[in-house]
């Protein structure tokens, strides 16, 4: 019988948690949940004084009460999985706040239940694996477009883009910060999907691994993917800011919400 005990932390465990959280994407936007400001609080509680494992609590919240539960579920699942990778973490407890389906969601995530069993009644034909794949494709295409455009800006021609080897992209130095950021992420998703494993492989294959056939048509596709994702992205940012009173109505400094949770060691950024 041991009650959870809070303890003062040096920064290291929290930093490790935040670093793992940076790897969790909003699936619809392909942006880290940390950058989107969705993570409200992180706390670490040692499970027992004589043990080396801890429980990590993460609470997060979304731009609206109505955000799709399936997207929220993917994020909650990602948060739990990423944090439980850390060797000193016994369990990650994830709490979604201020959401229409928060209770069902939180119970399901922390019990390790699948989305389908919990939301069967509401979304009977939901196939979360298929949804995840759909978002992976969009993420791939969006990152790829940024990198292709950055290569074009360096003077490469479409005919060169379609047959360019991966090595050329790896060594390209982009001055635009967004291009530089997306290059790292693009190479990461190439690796993750086992596309272009060798430096001589095509830098810009399709998601199916084929060479781009009709360049103009392919770029139209990438553009439409980006337009849709940007819509959701900028809307979500605006709504998130407004919902949590970060909008500047007064002309004064934006009001930041007080994240304090009693009786817990916590941190936020």
């Amino acid at each position: 019988m041991t009650a959870p005990i809070s303890f003062a932390l040096d920064d290291a465990p929290l930093e490790q948690v935040w670093a793992r959280l940076d790897l969790v994407m909003d699936p619809e936007l392909d942006e880290p949940v940390t950058d989107m400001g969705f993570i409200e609080a992180v706390s670490v509680i040692r499970t027992a004084p004589d043990q080396n494992t801890s429980t990590v609590h993460v609470s997060f919240r979304l731009p609206t009460y109505w955000c799709s539960p399936n997207f929220a579920f993917l994020m909650a699942e990602g948060i739990k999985r990423q944090i439980e990778v850390l060797p000193w973490v016994g369990q990650a407890v994830v709490t979604l706040q201020d959401h229409m389906a928060a209770d069902e969601m939180n119970a399901a995530i922390n019990a390790g239940a699948s989305f389908g069993t919990v939301f069967a009644e509401l979304q009977p034909d939901e196939d979360l694996a298929a949804l995840r794949e759909k978002f992976d494709i969009k993420a791939f295409q969006r990152r790829q477009e940024v990198v292709i455009k950055a290569m074009l800006a360096m003077g490469f021609l479409p005919a060169e883009i379609v047959k360019m080897p991966r090595a050329l992209v790896e060594t390209a130095a982009f001055t635009d910060p967004e291009a530089a950021r997306q290059k790292i992420r693009y190479l990461a998703i190439l690796d993750e999907k086992h596309l272009a494993p060798s430096p001589r492989d095509l830098a810009f294959p399709t998601y199916q691994g084929a060479r781009i056939d009709d360049y103009a048509q392919y770029m139209d596709l990438l553009r439409s993917v980006r337009i849709n994702m940007e819509f959701s992205g900028s809307l979500c940012r605006g709504l998130k800011r407004s919902r949590y009173q970060e909008a500047d109505l007064s002309g004064d400094v934006p009001i930041l919400v007080d994240f304090t949770a009693p009786n817990l060691t916590h941190a936020c950024r």
Partner: protein
Amino acid sequence: MYVTPEGKEIFVVDGHAHFWDGSPENQKNVHGKQFIDCFYAYHTGLSPKEQLWEKSKFEKYSPNELYNDLFIDGPDDIAIFQTTSLSDFYKTGFGCIKRTSEIAKKYPNRFIVNGAFDPRDGEKALEYIHFMKETYDIKGVKMYTAEWNGASKGWRLNDPDAYKCFELCDKLGIKNIHVHKGPTIIPLNKDAFDVHDVDYAATDFQNLNWIVEHCGLPRLDDFCWIATQETNVYAGLAVALPFIHSRPRYFGEIMAELLFWLGPEKILFGSDYAIWTPKWLVEKLWAFQIPEDISAERGGVQLTDEIKEKILGLNAARLYDIDVAARKAEFAAHPMSIAAE
């Protein structure tokens, strides 16, 4: 009437406006509170700072405020009001046809009040359509395919019950069907905002005009594909337009896609009042040009003055049989006054 900086008079039909009561007194439950809060977040998230409202005015504004924002301070000549019942969330409905029709009576020819129905109500929906036609002579309706109704968390335009309703609309001359296909509001069924059902309904009901509000965003490509195939599918700019302030380049991309695929005759201005007010939207739209590089990727499409005039009023006037010349003359002879109350 919008008068351009060059002095040209532009007839404005605001294709998407609301007269709602989202006040705490009218809220039935937490969903009602969260719904108006979400709208307010749209307002504060995308408006220029000097256009922001206090929360209390946003929750419930008076007929005088509405009249001023649209027609006196604002450039609207005619505004089309969409009914949004949300009766599970609000005691007397959120945007109620009765309330809106009452103020519409005071200002002849300025308001077009659309109805709403839920095909899942079956026979009752058909009766209600008859009632709305007889009582309010509606010319259009607003559909929320993601609205909850009992155990159902959404429906599709090509459901058999919906087709019975559209057959009746066709018969009664209710020919403008506005469909909310946009960002998720009540999204449990993620497919409820999928745009593909528009394709079926528009093919099967050629006499009806299908105005897809928020142009299907964030499914613009699917929407453009459908609207290109179907001559009777239109794009409503509500929610897309405010990006002209916060993300003008991005707005240019949306307009380039719409002009390239749909052409200038099938795009309708809408403020989505009171989420946004029409004055700043119209001013910014008139001053806007699609950036050169974006236009070049889309066959050189551009927002010329002539095209803007169509978007701001002439396209909607065509759908709603508005005699622009007659209305212009009438409104010029009877300028609006805030004292009409």
